[in-house]
């Protein structure tokens, strides 16, 4: 979406027809609108929201028509106020107008319902008037996203607060195409369910019974998943509380050293817990893959005894090769040097070995058996050696875990025993929170287990259903449709997983770049797998969460929006010629007084960097915010400049009403 022209007619304090043409120059992509307090900057933002969504977000939203226009109109006259916006999106040019009419009766206004009109010129140059204008607008910029592109700068710091996590997640999902995939998966599931019901209707009694059971199991799985999600949310909340307690303990002089040591030990504890799990995994693997060797000992021994016994009796080859005996006889000399002349006793002795030497195939088989028995013995010994090593490792880790737990316990006792009441109370609170977290984790484990069992039950029932596949044609068709839904859902899920990982990586990379350019301090912005935005401060080899000032929160939020908009733009430019699933798009940023809480340096950094991220930037700003560092940083990108001329009887007694006019600033 690229904004072209905004026109206001008698809208709120804007008198007559006022027009703003936004800069669309790629290199000078900033439009600055100057206005002092009360001059109508926020009303302009409200006008954009009103024309697109019918909600201005302004105080007294029903008072739309300009006071001066109302006062000047004769009794009984019909007045109109409107806001129109021309914009382009994906090679189409749109014109949207929202208007409202009112009749002046007895000095008051009787409003009719607002009306929205939309028309556009498509890629082929055809003029189109859509039947449902609001639907078309909502497709271009979903209402849930407008707060990211048209925003009040003083309230934008929400994104870095805990309750901003949900908003961030949703914005990322919508902009990056994840929401589309998620919704597709959910809706396909609903469709699949309908075909399952249809299948049950046409199938025989026994199949119907199975289908009913399948439905019940599916509902149970869904209910368990909701329960699981709730518990996970509870765990996140507890973890946030634990983090807050840790932050506070670290910030207090009397507890800082102990707390830092405790956190270091907790980090080690976590590493050892992971190592313990790894060893357990290896033990399980060894036991499942090579465990049979433990029970082979007597079998190997008996097999060896059997072979020796038979060999001694001459019932199986002695290990003397037939060829070897024949060679000795032909040579006429034994291996010990004794001559073997014809008719001699020695020759008769050696000849007798021929009866004990086996045939070639038998010899080979016995030879292989010997080798296999040796290999089995070796493998058995190796398995025991590995098991002993793993058990020793496990024991060592267990000891370390116990020692660390004891050390942490001692530190906690020290904290609890501190004279400072707050520290003792915090430590008690942490203890309670840990118990709660343990309880929740236990519940999560139990629910996951139940889900696993239900899924197994579902698989069994589904197999039964397949076996009883109905002969009825309608049932078969429903079945095919249902199975198609399942296959498509599987593909959607895999695409979603691929895409989610790539979005997280892209966003993290871009956010780091943007953040380093915009924020002075060396903080690190991290977007975790749940798209939560966290800011850390490096401290030695570890990092700790940061308590930011309001100005820093503003910079962080703007950097985040900038990074998001930049990725969406990059995605759009890359995928423009393709009919891919994730198209991205151009999104403008319209900001009302965004620099309020920032210091000079952050103002300059933000002003210099933001225009390089968004395709189009509109800044509504007072002269006190603009002059100086913001102007220095942004001036080179300014393509259009306007001033809101505010008239008021308070400022000029010759003026009867307060109103605003827009004047373009033209540079020589």
């Amino acid at each position: 979406m690229i904004l072209d022209t905004l026109e206001l007619h008698n809208f709120r304090q804007y008198y007559g027809t006022q027009r703003i043409v936004f800069s669309k120059d790629r290199h000078r992509n900033v439009t600055v609108i100057h206005g002092e307090n009360g001059s109508g900057k926020t009303t302009l933002l409200g006008a954009l929201n009103w024309v697109l969504y019918g909600k201005s977000g302004l105080p007294d939203p029903e008072d739309i028509i300009c006071e001066r226009a109302v006062a000047e109109a004769p009794e009984g006259a019909e007045l109109e106020a409107y806001v129109s916006l021309t914009f382009t999106d994906d090679a189409k040019t749109y014109f949207v107008k929202r208007s409202v009419r009112a009749r002046k009766t007895g000095g008051k206004l009787e409003y009719s319902a607002p009306r929205v009109e939309l028309e556009y010129i498509n890629e082929a140059g055809e003029h189109v008037v859509p039947k449902f204008p609001q639907e078309v607008i909502d497709q271009i910029l979903p209402p849930g996203l407008r707060g990211y592109f048209f925003f009040d700068g003083e309230r934008i710091d929400n994104l870095t607060k805990k309750d901003g996590a949900k908003e961030i997640k949703r914005a990322i999902k919508i902009l990056m195409g994840l929401e589309v995939l998620e919704r597709a998966g959910n809706h396909l599931k609903g469709v699949q369910q309908r075909f399952l019901e249809e299948y049950g209707k046409y199938a025989d009694d026994e199949t119907q019974r199975i289908v009913e059971q399948l439905k019940v199991v599916e509902e149970e799985i869904e209910a368990k998943k909701v329960e699981l999600e709730d518990e996970k949310n509870n765990r996140s909340a507890i973890e946030a509380e634990l983090q807050a307690v840790a932050d506070r303990l670290r910030s207090l002089e009397a507890s800082r050293d102990i707390q830092e040591k405790k956190e270091e030990l907790q980090r080690q504890l976590k590493q050892y817990q992971e190592a313990y799990q790894e060893v357990q995994k290896k033990l399980r693997y060894t036991a499942s893959r090579r465990g049979y060797l433990a029970f082979c000992g007597s079998l190997i021994r008996r097999a060896k005894e059997f072979v020796s016994e038979k060999r001694a009796k001459g019932e199986i080859p002695s290990g003397i090769k037939e060829r070897f005996v024949k060679d000795l006889l032909q040579l006429g000399r034994c291996i010990c040097g004794t001559p073997l002349p014809e008719g001699s006793e020695a020759r008769a002795q050696v000849s007798s070995w021929l009866t004990r030497a086996g045939k070639q195939a038998v010899e080979d088989a016995v030879h292989e058996l010997d080798k296999d028995l040796v290999a089995l013995e070796n493998a058995r010994a190796e398995m025991f050696r590995d098991l002993r090593e793993l058990c020793a490792q496990r024991q060592h880790i267990k000891t370390k875990l116990r020692e660390l737990a004891e050390e942490i316990g001692q530190l906690e006792a020290q904290l609890e025993g501190k004279d400072v009441e707050e520290i003792a109370a915090l430590q008690r609170k942490e203890h309670e929170l840990r118990i709660k977290r343990f309880e929740i984790e236990r519940k999560i484990g139990a629910i996951e287990k139940e889900i696993e069992q239900l899924q197994e039950r579902h698989r069994q029932l589904d197999n039964e259903r397949r076996k009883k596949e109905a002969e009825n044609e309608k049932a078969r068709l429903a079945l095919r449709r249902m199975e198609a839904c399942q296959r498509i859902r599987d593909v959607v899920q895999k695409i979603l997983e691929l895409r989610a990982q790539s979005v997280q990586d892209d966003l993290q990379r871009r956010m780091t770049e943007v953040y380093n350019r915009m924020l002075r301090k060396g903080y690190e912005a991290v977007i975790d797998e749940d798209y939560q935005l966290m800011v850390y401060k490096p401290m030695g080899e570890s990092k700790v969460p940061v308590r930011m000032s309001q100005g820093e929160r503003q910079v962080t939020s703007l950097a985040f929006i900038g990074a998001l908009v930049d990725i969406a733009r990059e995605q759009y430019e890359r995928e423009h010629e393709r009919s891919g699933f994730f198209r991205g798009g151009y999104y403008p940023i319209v900001m009302d007084s965004p620099f309020g809480y920032m210091d000079q340096d952050h103002r300059e950094r933000t002003a210099r960097n933001l225009p390089t991220l968004a395709h189009q930037v509109v800044v509504l700003v007072s002269s006190s915010q603009w002059e100086g560092s913001v102007k220095d940083g942004m001036q080179q990108y300014v393509g259009k400049e306007y001033v809101l001329q505010y008239r008021s009887p308070k400022l000029d007694p010759s003026v009867k009403f307060e109103y605003t006019e827009v004047q373009e600033v033209r540079h020589a």
Binding site: E135, D138, Q139, P142, P143, G144, I174, E179, V180, L181, R183, A184, N186, H187, L188, G190, V191, R194, F195, L477, R480, R481, A484, C485, R487, I488, V491, V492, K494, I495, L498, R499, Q501, S502, R574, G580, F581
Partner: protein, 57 residues
């Protein structure tokens, strides 16, 4: 994994479906994009059901 690798993986996933299934998938994604703002999913489930019925006969 870079963008090209992801695109290639997505392509091969889509191609693992039969032609009618691929057609359903593309139509469903298009529909979801168009109706992203809709809070009531019932209409979408109705529309997708119709898409599946038409594609698999």
């Amino acid at each position: 994994m870079n963008t090209d690798e992801i695109r290639e993986k997505v392509r091969s996933l889509v191609q693992s479906l039969s032609k009618p299934e691929q057609d359903i998938l593309h139509r469903v994604i298009q529909l979801e994009k168009e109706k992203l703002y809709l809070d009531n999913p019932k209409f979408l489930v109705d529309d997708i059901e119709e898409i599946v019925r038409r594609a698999i006969k």
